[in-house]
Symmetry: C2
Subunit: 151 residues, 2 copies
């Protein structure tokens, strides 16, 4: 089996997973810390999805750490399919969440009296981090999809 | 070459393309007719993307009509790749546009004084139609991706 950088069990995949988790945590921090996010549906959606992305990415990062540093387990087609579909669904959901957050925060920024201090900038940063997390998640999904027929 | 329903050049694909175009036109009509949509970024984004989806889907529908009713041209790998990538990009863009529109319209619905009459219901219907168009576009993309290795 050829070694595809970014596929499950390689150091490239570990970097992608860590990137996803870091960006998702950053997005959550910008959104949740000291902000009443739960009065807007789009922000609740973002928090929910980022709360799903973090455990998913960390779990797969642990698998990658095990695979890189200890012992490469044999790849199984069923497990790889589940990983591809999970990445897929999460990437769609995080794209939807980041776009919703970005549009709502730009609307709030345009209307007077909503953004006290740098509140809307924080919303926008949160959306940007969710967008980066989406991009890395899509990359993981594509790399694993590419590997799938050869397993 | 086996016949996959929904792949380029079949009647299933024709139905998918017509569905995409009809939903995109419906979304545009609900958004544009008698509404000042251009004061919101998300709505302008939706109108732009739906304006891209309509010619793309109609062009491929014409290809399907030619292929179904007149003569099946031989599928070429390069053309099929372009179709898959185009569907792919447009499906991501229309998902982003529909989610942005949905979140902005629900925000406008929640705040007082913005929705005169049934304005926000129209925005929501437009977002729903863009969402359906996304779903059909994703289906087309997946069917053609499935066909791609066998060409």
């Amino acid at each position: 089996m050829e070694e595809l950088p970014g596929a499950l069990g390689t150091s490239g995949s570990l970097a992608l997973r860590l990137g996803q988790a870091i960006f998702a945590v950053g997005s959550l921090l910008f959104m949740c810390l000291d902000v009443e996010f739960y009065s807007y549906t789009a922000f609740c959606f973002l928090v929910t999805i980022m709360g799903l992305v973090i455990p998913w990415s960390l779990t797969l990062a642990v698998v990658d750490v095990f695979s890189v540093f200890i012992r490469r387990p044999s790849r199984q087609r069923g497990i790889l399919s589940i990983v591809v579909i999970g990445d897929w669904v999460l990437s769609f959901l995080s794209l939807a969440a980041s776009c919703s957050t970005a549009s709502v925060s730009s609307l709030l920024l345009a209307s007077e009296g909503f953004c006290i201090g740098k509140l809307c900038t924080r919303y926008q940063l949160s959306a940007a981090m969710a967008f980066l997390s989406w991009f890395l998640s899509l990359s993981s999904s594509l790399f694993n999809l590419w590997l799938l027929p050869s397993v």
